[in-house]
Symmetry: C2
Subunit: 343 residues, 2 copies
Amino acid sequence: MKLDQATIKDLARELNVSSSTISRALKDYPGISEETKRKVKELAAKMNYRPNALARSLRKSQSFTIGVIIPEVVHFFFSTVISGIEEVAFARGYNVILTQTNEKYIREKTSIDTMLANQIDGLMVSYSKETKDFSHFSELLEKNFPIVFFDRVPKLENTLNVTVDDYSGAYAATQHLIQQGYRKIFHLAGPKYLSISQERQRGYLSALEDYGIQPQPNWIIESSKGNENEARDITAEILKKADPRPDAFFAHNDMAAVGAMMACREAGLKVPDQIGIVGFSDWQFCTMLEPSLSSVAQPGFQMGVRATELLLDLIDKKGDMDASKNSLVLKTELLIRKSSQKP
Amino acid sequence: MKLDQATIKDLARELNVSSSTISRALKDYPGISEETKRKVKELAAKMNYRPNALARSLRKSQSFTIGVIIPEVVHFFFSTVISGIEEVAFARGYNVILTQTNEKYIREKTSIDTMLANQIDGLMVSYSKETKDFSHFSELLEKNFPIVFFDRVPKLENTLNVTVDDYSGAYAATQHLIQQGYRKIFHLAGPKYLSISQERQRGYLSALEDYGIQPQPNWIIESSKGNENEARDITAEILKKADPRPDAFFAHNDMAAVGAMMACREAGLKVPDQIGIVGFSDWQFCTMLEPSLSSVAQPGFQMGVRATELLLDLIDKKGDMDASKNSLVLKTELLIRKSSQKP
DNA sequence: CCTTCACGTGCAAACGTTTGAATAAGGCGA
DNA sequence: TCGCCTTATTCAAACGTTTGCACGTGAAGG
């Protein structure tokens, strides 16, 4: 099972030169004759030489590896972000080591530890729902360790963040519902302590306010798991009890929107005629539903790309970057489909 | 940005002992006094010592890292598999380095190269649609390098594979359609050269044959991209031209099934009354559709788990395992929903 | 003929661990 | 008192690179 890879020493022995010469020849250092370079490269190819990245990293104390910490992989948005990360990392010669926290704080901490032990050059994080204490990040930040946060960003000073304009997206969604003539617009909110949930809720409230609609306290219900079953139950409950009844739902994510849609259908309510629904994230299935689901698209791939570019730049510069200047807020886009358009 | 981690040498200097003592004390080697061990561990904790995994790997020529090569991350099934992989790897102290090939052969090759350069201990692969030549794998296999293939497995001798029983799943799906009274069952097939596509098609044909149904050549149409738009176009075409007209579709994946469903709806055909549809993979959205989509569930998470267990066992044993004995075929399960049940 | 310089290469240390073998210090029996 | 065993520790090499510096050679310049 050992691969018995040829090493620089093997090449050196074969050609009767020193390891340094081999090393330099392979890297096209000046001061090595063309002749030697040619011979070395030929032999390297012939022996299928593959540099030992570990040794190189150890020597250079740079591993060309970045760590990515994500709540869960099986999630349309996050997997899209990963895809973007992977693209840029690959293109720039970096490896990606990935762990998912499954929304567990403890796992987030230990993952970071093993990643650091593996000498990652930088870290990209979207933290877990459980995480309330950010000291494991701030300790690193203090030492100027390169970290870029994406999507879910902590309330810490001077961090590099890549987020999506949740506020505007939510505002646009709510505004659209209002313009369609819906008035009693309920909000299926995300976990309170996540900044994204707060922003979405804020956008929702602003839109209502701007249009002179006074939301009742019971219009906002937390659907923290964000899956369709939870939302379905919650919605069913609302439809039974709430007075006045909602005539629209703005959900903090698409799964919740689908749950609401199901509950409405089961309650015999027509979407969009009697109830309007808008989700958030634009998961693949939005266009597959009947009626198709209006949703706020988040540029996940872009987020991965930009966040990685930011991180790699930060690593390359080996210096600080002005967080306030370099943090990014990506645009969201409301995609209006059938579920929110009154006939 | 350098983290300036304390090293064994730092601890040694501090305590006025040698590096070896520190190393052994930390690892609870016999032959180190309890007193010393205590002191070392205390200091290590105090100085926030974190062993340099790179150095360790270099020395031990084992990196506790495995490589995972996957066609694409943004894919329900594959992301589920990754999740399973990640769980097991994490639990057993292995890192996962991940790359997606985007179905490109060239990228598959270069990814393997950089992973090998990074001294991965083993490899898990689901190869790309483009890959026709498997020599990059067979070369490694010859040297007894640990590889486990999952889902898409190559036609090579003596490889460790974890697959899903595509044949039986397809058979069950087709049989179910027949039993529901559908007769002219078309098959939206996957890329010809993928073993999974072949198996699914084989199961489809077997079922037809067992029930004495003679498929016409035009009943099988390749929908190789496997996305809903392609399938929708293909299906629309079929509905217009095929004679006799299909009364059911068995699609090689759920996206294609959705495409078919859309095309049927647009052609004014009622599902399941006039047309039955069954997909494959049981993506999340199956239950969200109206009518809900019958599908063959594949245990993706299980696949990730079992494949990783197999690989890590193989690595630990540092020896061969009997591929024929250890390869796994996981059970599929037909989930019957509305799209295929005649009223 | 001696210095100077450029060129091509080699030496050796370093990165942070691990580990077989050597060493030192006690303790104990004869 | 000597030898021997045990116990705790150190030495030094190794893993495969990279890299500052030194070295040797031959040619050009004075």
